[in-house]
């Protein structure tokens, strides 16, 4: 009682004194248990954080309660573990038992309880770091490696199997910052390879129980790796150099054979191209230039070519009523192309004898048309002066023999000319004998269309005037070869040849300026012989001139002044274009390749004139006997 009273009095006095001084005092603040740890699962320690002491000396006490028991125990050891700690020794520690721990702070004014904490020793185990860390450098042939060994912490009893620890170590070079960690499991040794030659290493190790916390890292151990020759590294260096060298060589080889490889691997794809076509010109806008290269040398024919394609015409004296149209086909000597051009376009009225095939094709047609064209004879009769006005003069152009190229533009009387580009032939006075008027053999210049219509007209006209021998010339429907000869004396038919023909044959009785050989090109179905001039001396003047037609041999002149021609057996140059037919109109159905004997009243004139060569028809020859 007295003690209690004394205590109370003391407390009251203390409070009064404290009050008198003027400071504020309060009960202690709430302490907190920070952590509880067990190093070996046999003992454990709890630490707490004291709260404010309230200005008064405060005492702390730890109380605990075990699971399923209400008995409160106080901490048996406050000192071993240090300040604000409670150490539970082996006798007080029960594993797999739930502890309920509370810290109480007590001062003069009161006491404060901390929050209770439930712990189980099994789950708060944090062992000590491993001990006796040892580093050794061992050699594997020529390679050094580090052998690390350690021991378990002393307190942890792993031998009895009470605790199972797993370890982990880390290593780094002395001047590095990054650690290289290696888990080691339950073993207590470890080997580290791939060391830097001459490097200084630091090694640390730590451990952890199977359910618990990691220990702290052990103290570092140093080791120095001796210098050694890294063969592997040098081998890699060599390999890299070698591969670089090989790559360089391969690249150089590829570069040298770049073009070949390109062709091999990526063959060029042929682009769409037209030979001779320059697309750049097209892009520039010069379409005509671009297309010009496509154009052949002779297609499309220019105006100058047109002239070449034209037939050389014969100057012919034509009576007024009659219109003589004489055309002379111009031989295309060395111009096979022109020949082709002329022969290919049969519709333009070129000489059919120029065409190889046409003549053969048309031979049948000629026979059919013969009766129609029979009347259409172009006669050359001696009309007189009035008829001479109707000369159809074919003005020859160049008489040069070497000009083989172009055919003359054929000339037609205006009424006859179906082709507008051809100028009509100026009529010449018949008295001007100097002017050689020769029948113009129209070559294939007549259009097929309008021409046949003219023929009957011609034929009728001429027939009325006939009185003299005349020649009948077949006119095919394709071509017009009219050789009208007036057998009158003053009438002269002069076949003018163009430049391509050396000799200009002419039908001229008194004066023969030029003599021209007329070659029968074909025989029309109306028993008309189509003639075209031939050179007199083909072998001399034009050695390479190929006659595409056959030469007809005049057999005789019949009663009606028809010219009987023989077909020549031998085909010159292998060209058998012209089919010959009997001239006399009395026998229109004569086929080709027949010779006539009966109608001949007069035999063929003997070859006297030098103009007549080989029996070839020469216009001048024929005129002679009639006069």
């Amino acid at each position: 009682m007295r003690k209690a009273e004394g205590g109370i009095l003391l407390r009251l006095l203390l409070l009064f004194m404290l009050h008198a001084t003027g400071t504020s005092y309060s009960p202690p603040g709430k302490p907190t248990l920070t952590r509880c740890r067990s190093p070996e699962k046999e003992t454990f320690t709890c630490w707490w954080e004291p709260g404010s002491d309230g200005g008064l000396p405060t005492k702390y006490a730890l109380y605990y309660r075990k699971e399923n028991s209400d008995k409160v125990f106080e901490c048996p050891d406050y000192r071993t573990a240090g300040e604000n700690s409670c150490f539970f020794n082996k006798n007080d520690t029960s594993v797999w038992v739930n502890y309920n721990i509370t810290v109480v702070a007590t001062n003069a004014l009161g006491r404060t309880f901390s929050d209770p904490v439930d712990i189980d020793v099994v789950y708060i185990v944090k062992p000590n770091p491993p001990e006796n860390l040892a580093l050794t450098v061992l050699w594997d042939q020529t390679w050094p490696y580090l052998h690390v060994s350690w021991e378990s912490p002393q307190k942890a009893d792993t031998r009895s199997g009470w605790i199972t620890l797993i370890y982990e170590l880390r290593i780094k070079l002395e001047d590095e910052d990054e650690w290289e960690e290696h888990p080691a499991g339950q073993q207590k040794t470890f080997n580290i390879f791939s060391l830097c030659s001459g490097g200084k290493y630091l090694v640390q190790v730590r451990c952890k129980p199977d359910h618990g916390f990691w220990s702290e890292w052990s103290s570092s151990q140093y080791v120095k790796v001796p210098e050694y020759f890294n063969r592997e590294k040098s081998m890699w260096v060599l390999a890299v150099i070698f591969s670089a060298f090989a790559l360089f060589i391969i690249t150089w080889l590829i570069h040298m054979n770049c073009h070949n490889l390109k062709q091999c691997i990526l063959p060029s794809v042929p682009g769409p191209k037209i030979k001779g076509f320059d697309e750049q010109l097209l892009k520039d806008g010069k379409s005509m230039d671009a297309f010009s290269s496509l154009v052949g040398a002779n297609f499309p024919p220019t105006t100058t070519n047109y002239e070449d394609l034209l037939v050389e015409y014969l100057e012919v004296f034509v009576p007024e009523e009659r219109e003589l149209m004489l055309e002379e086909t111009k031989e295309l000597h060395n111009d096979s192309l022109k020949f082709e051009n002329s022969t290919s376009d049969c519709d333009s009225g070129r000489g059919s004898c120029d065409s190889h095939t046409l003549l053969i094709d048309k031979s049948e047609e000629e026979k059919g048309q013969q009766p129609d064209q029979q009347s259409s004879e172009i006669k050359m009769d001696g009309k007189g002066q009035d008829e001479e006005d109707k000369y159809l003069t074919c003005s020859p152009e160049n008489v040069d023999s070497h000009q083989l190229s172009s055919e003359k533009v054929k000339t037609w009387p205006s009424s006859f000319s179906p082709l507008p580009e051809y100028s009509p032939i100026p009529l010449q006075q018949p008295n001007s004998h100097e002017t050689s008027k020769q029948p113009c053999l129209s070559d294939s210049l007549f259009a097929a269309g309008p021409l046949p219509s003219h023929f009957p007209h011609l034929g009728h006209n001429t027939k009325d005037e006939i009185g003299s021998s005349y020649w009948q010339f077949g006119i095919s429907n394709k071509q017009l070869h009219l050789l009208h000869q007036q057998m009158e004396a003053h009438q002269q038919l002069q076949a003018h040849k163009n430049a391509s023909v050396s000799n200009i044959g002419h039908l001229q009785l008194p004066s023969v300026r030029f003599t021209e050989y007329v070659e029968v090109q074909r025989v029309s179905d109306q028993n008309m012989v189509i003639l075209h001039p031939v050179p007199s001396h083909p072998e001399t003047s034009y050695p390479d001139w190929h006659q595409t037609e056959e030469y007809s041999k005049v057999k005789c002149v019949d009663n009606d002044n028809g010219l009987l021609l023989l077909q020549r057996e031998g085909v010159e140059e292998g060209m058998d274009m012209c089919s010959y037919e009997e001239l006399p109109e009395s026998d229109p159905s004569k086929t080709t390749n027949t010779t006539f004997t009966s109608p001949c009243s007069q035999p063929a004139p003997s070859v006297q004139d030098e103009r007549v060569v080989g029996g070839y028809v020469e216009t001048s020859v024929f005129t002679l006997p009639t006069y």
């Binding site: 046999e42 797999w96 309920n100 209770p116 439930d118 009895s160 199997g161 009470w162 359910h211």
Partner: protein, 230 residues
């Protein structure tokens, strides 16, 4: 082609058989103890122990995961007073709570405790799994874990029994350890208690008990075959 395959296949089968038989014979001839070291004959036992310990470790891991999951979902209030009065139904089984205690008792007793524990948890875990699968808030992962846990208890008990048999065969322990912990005997004692436990308390109790089992097995191993990884 077919005619070729048959004799070739027969030859191959014969070769394989020869290889296997030779292997087996070598296995028998070349025993696990080539040099006849001391304690070498205990190697199979040590291996058995290792296997069982691994098994128990896995069981404990699963229970730990489930317990953590439960704590996340339910978070029992830490200030509950009633929490202290938790009582596991296996608390009737006297288990050593310290290292010295565990080392002091006999091996047979330790083995028996292990077996008792395993038996005691067979039914509660099965029912726990049933209740888990019925609740929608549990994920499939948890449900699979509870099933796995339940199966593991069975397997572990069989394994421990095998170890005990081996030990008894080797003469290490006496034959007193048997299937003493019969399910019927245990069930009569604490048949009703675990049914009243909540799921969370069940998990808590089992987590602890699986740890006990693992630890006891380790102690047993290191007491019986100390030279093989202790």
């Amino acid at each position: 082609m077919m005619a070729h395959i048959r004799p070739v296949s027969a030859v191959w089968v014969g070769i394989i058989c020869l290889v296997f038989s030779s292997r087996l014979s070598t296995m028998k001839a070349a025993s696990i103890c080539p040099n006849d070291q001391t304690g070498c004959h205990l190697l199979p036992l040590a291996n058995l122990f290792d296997r069982v310990i691994q098994h128990s470790a896995r069981m404990h891991g699963i229970s730990d995961d489930l317990h953590s999951e439960f704590e996340l979902y339910f978070l029992p209030s830490k200030n509950q007073i009633g929490r202290v009065s938790r009582n596991c139904h296996t608390s009737t089984i006297l288990t050593p709570n310290g290292k010295e205690n565990a080392q002091r008792i006999a091996r047979e007793e330790l083995a028996e405790i292990i077996l008792k524990l395993l038996v005691a948890w067979r039914d509660p875990l099965w029912h726990f799994h049933q209740s888990m699968s019925q609740h929608d808030e549990f994920t499939n992962f948890s449900s699979n874990k509870s099933l796995e846990m339940s199966d593991m208890v069975h397997e572990l008990r069989k394994g421990v029994l095998k170890v005990v048999e081996k030990m008894q065969m080797l003469g290490i322990i006496s034959n007193s350890v048997g299937d003493t912990g019969s399910p019927e005997a245990l069930l009569t004692s604490d048949s009703a208690e675990w049914r009243f436990m909540k799921d969370y308390d069940l998990l808590y109790c089992f987590r602890r008990d699986s740890n006990k089992i693992q630890n006891y097995l380790k102690i047993l191993k290191c007491r019986i075959v100390p030279k093989h990884g202790c």
